[in-house]
């Protein structure tokens, strides 16, 4: 708004001096009337009284005219505020008199203040977040095409046969976990991991990097109507929605751009700890249920079970 911004043509210092001059003028005019009200002082001779009265009166009138000329001089310095609205079109809204029914201008101001604050906070947040880089792509933002990217892009372009081999080796690692690989949409592998009779996990991959996971119940339908693996719909149960969130956190935790097969192996090891999703109590509070949910969090190092609210 106009606060803090001097509109052109208004001299603020002269303005304050003019206000002081007005006060001085007022007091001198009051003095004139006081003098008249008091009348003649008590002196010896009539002439003496008249003379002193007239002198006093003249003096007050002089001070009045002096103050008035000072005020006139200052008022010329102050200048006129510019006729143009410094607020342009939005300022025209403030001329609407019906304030309580349509408080458009105040709402507009609030909206602007809020969006400015939001922009400022977003700038701060992006600065902080950029310090912890979570990028999993080989190219860096803003790098010119001529300069070679620093990370090796070769791990992104692996032959599908290699991916199949790695996955089948991991499939054989754990007896209670079976992995089925398919490629319904181009070269990206879609894994359907079945863990015992507890849950099913759909893993969408990009060469050997894990992109997304969705966790669903053992008896829930994981196929779309045309028989393809359904990679979008969420589980119907809150516990599996929570486990999906944790799995996404795990994806971001296990990262090694140079050795993606180690990453996939550690992720599968972590996932396997969910075989006891309904049987294990929380290591911290000892109970099975918290807000109706079993311990859904598995620690990344120790694979111990915790409730989402109990984890350190």
């Amino acid at each position: 708004m106009a606060e803090g911004v001097l509109s052109p043509g208004v001299n603020l210092e002269a303005f304050s001096q003019a206000i002081a001059a007005i006060q001085a003028l007022r007091s001198s005019v009051t003095r004139v009337f006081d003098c008249l009200k008091d009348g003649m002082r008590n002196k010896e001779t009539l002439e003496g009284r008249e003379k002193s009265f007239v002198a006093c009166f003249q003096e007050s009138l002089h001070s009045v005219s002096r103050d008035l000329s000072e005020l006139e001089r200052l008022s010329n310095l102050v200048g006129k505020p510019s006729e143009n609205h410094p607020l342009h079109n939005s300022g025209l809204l403030s001329l609407d008199p019906v304030q309580d029914k349509t408080p458009l201008y105040s709402q507009l101001l609030q909206a602007y203040k809020w969006s400015n604050k939001l922009q400022y906070h977003a700038g701060l947040a992006s600065g902080l977040l950029n310090q912890q880089s979570l990028k999993r792509s080989a190219n860096q933002m803003g790098v010119s095409a001529k300069r070679r990217p620093k990370a090796q892009p070769t791990t992104l372009v692996l032959p599908p046969q290699y991916v199949d081999d790695v996955i089948s080796r991991i499939d054989r690692m754990f007896p209670e976990m079976s992995i089925h690989l398919s490629r319904p949409n181009g070269t990206s592998a879609m894994l359907l991991v079945t863990l015992g009779k507890v849950l099913k996990v759909i893993v969408v991959m990009r060469s050997l990097f894990i992109d997304r996971t969705i966790v669903k119940g053992y008896h829930e339908n994981v196929y779309t109507e045309d028989g393809k693996v359904d990679i979008w719909s969420k589980s119907n149960y809150q516990v599996f929605q929570k486990v999906t969130d944790h799995a996404t956190t795990a994806l971001l935790h296990y990262q090694l751009p140079q050795m993606p097969d180690v990453v996939v192996r550690s992720f599968m090891t972590w996932l396997r700890s969910y075989i006891k999703l309904f049987q294990a109590p929380c290591q911290r509070c000892g109970k099975f249920l918290q807000d109706g949910l079993p311990p859904t969090w598995r620690d990344f190092r120790t694979l111990e079970a915790f409730h989402d609210t109990c984890r350190q």
């Binding site: 009779k197 309904f278 049987q279 109706g292």
Partner: protein, 212 residues
């Protein structure tokens, strides 16, 4: 069809069936459960007709035909310790046609009606068991929908039941013992209801002072 446990809640001292049901539902609502409509489970008894006994003089077997509003298009037929058949709703019409072999004992019709509550992934159904015009007891069914293996989540189910049933939490149902690691099916729920209804039928009628 998650793992389900069906049990009987004893009527509180000095209170009627209706009042005990209200106490239970209030506890559930305090816990945070949401009401989601009503449910009904009913059971009809059929005797094998005498004419089919033949020379061997076997004892007549009792067959129970049950319906559950949770599976509205199905009809369940069970023998006491025997197999459970899950058929579609036309099975009732078939039983009418088999009048010569199975006779309906109409006086033994028993049903449980009440409200259905949902809390997180749990489904709780509290019902009044009635035989004819009289209320005979209270049935509580707790289902944990995400899990399909009975032995996995028994402790979890028990902890949940304790939170609103207190000391009246039941023990391990007998159907769980036979399951090992097999997938739980709706037929097991109906077997539990059948056991419950038989138990209630044998019980003395609730004292008159409490009913009205």
């Amino acid at each position: 069809m998650g793992v389900t446990c069906v049990s009987q809640m004893p009527v509180a001292e000095g209170k009627s069936v209706q009042q005990t049901v209200e106490i239970l539902t209030r506890k559930l609502e305090l816990l945070g459960a949401e009401k989601q409509g009503t449910f009904c489970v009913d059971c009809e008894t059929y005797h094998t007709a005498a004419s089919t006994m033949g020379n061997q003089g076997q004892a007549g077997k009792l067959m129970y035909v049950m319906h559950n509003s949770e599976y509205p298009l199905s009809c369940f037929a069970l023998f006491e310790n025997g197999p459970c058949l899950i058929a579609d709703a036309n099975f009732d019409v078939l039983m009418v046609k088999l009048k010569g072999f199975f006779q309906n004992a109409k006086a033994n019709k028993i049903e449980s009606r009440g409200t259905r509550y949902q809390y997180c992934d749990f489904l709780v159904k509290v019902g009044t068991v009635t035989m004819g015009p009289s209320a005979r007891g209270i049935s509580v069914e707790v289902e944990y929908c995400p899990c399909v293996v009975a032995n996995d989540c028994w402790n979890l189910l028990m902890e949940f039941m304790q939170s609103f049933m207190g000391n009246h939490t039941p023990g391990n149902p007998s159907v769980f013992g036979n399951k090992h690691d097999n997938i739980y099916s709706p037929g097991d729920t109906m077997a539990q209801y059948m056991e419950l209804f038989n138990k209630i039928r044998k019980q003395q009628q609730v004292p008159v002072a409490g009913i009205r």
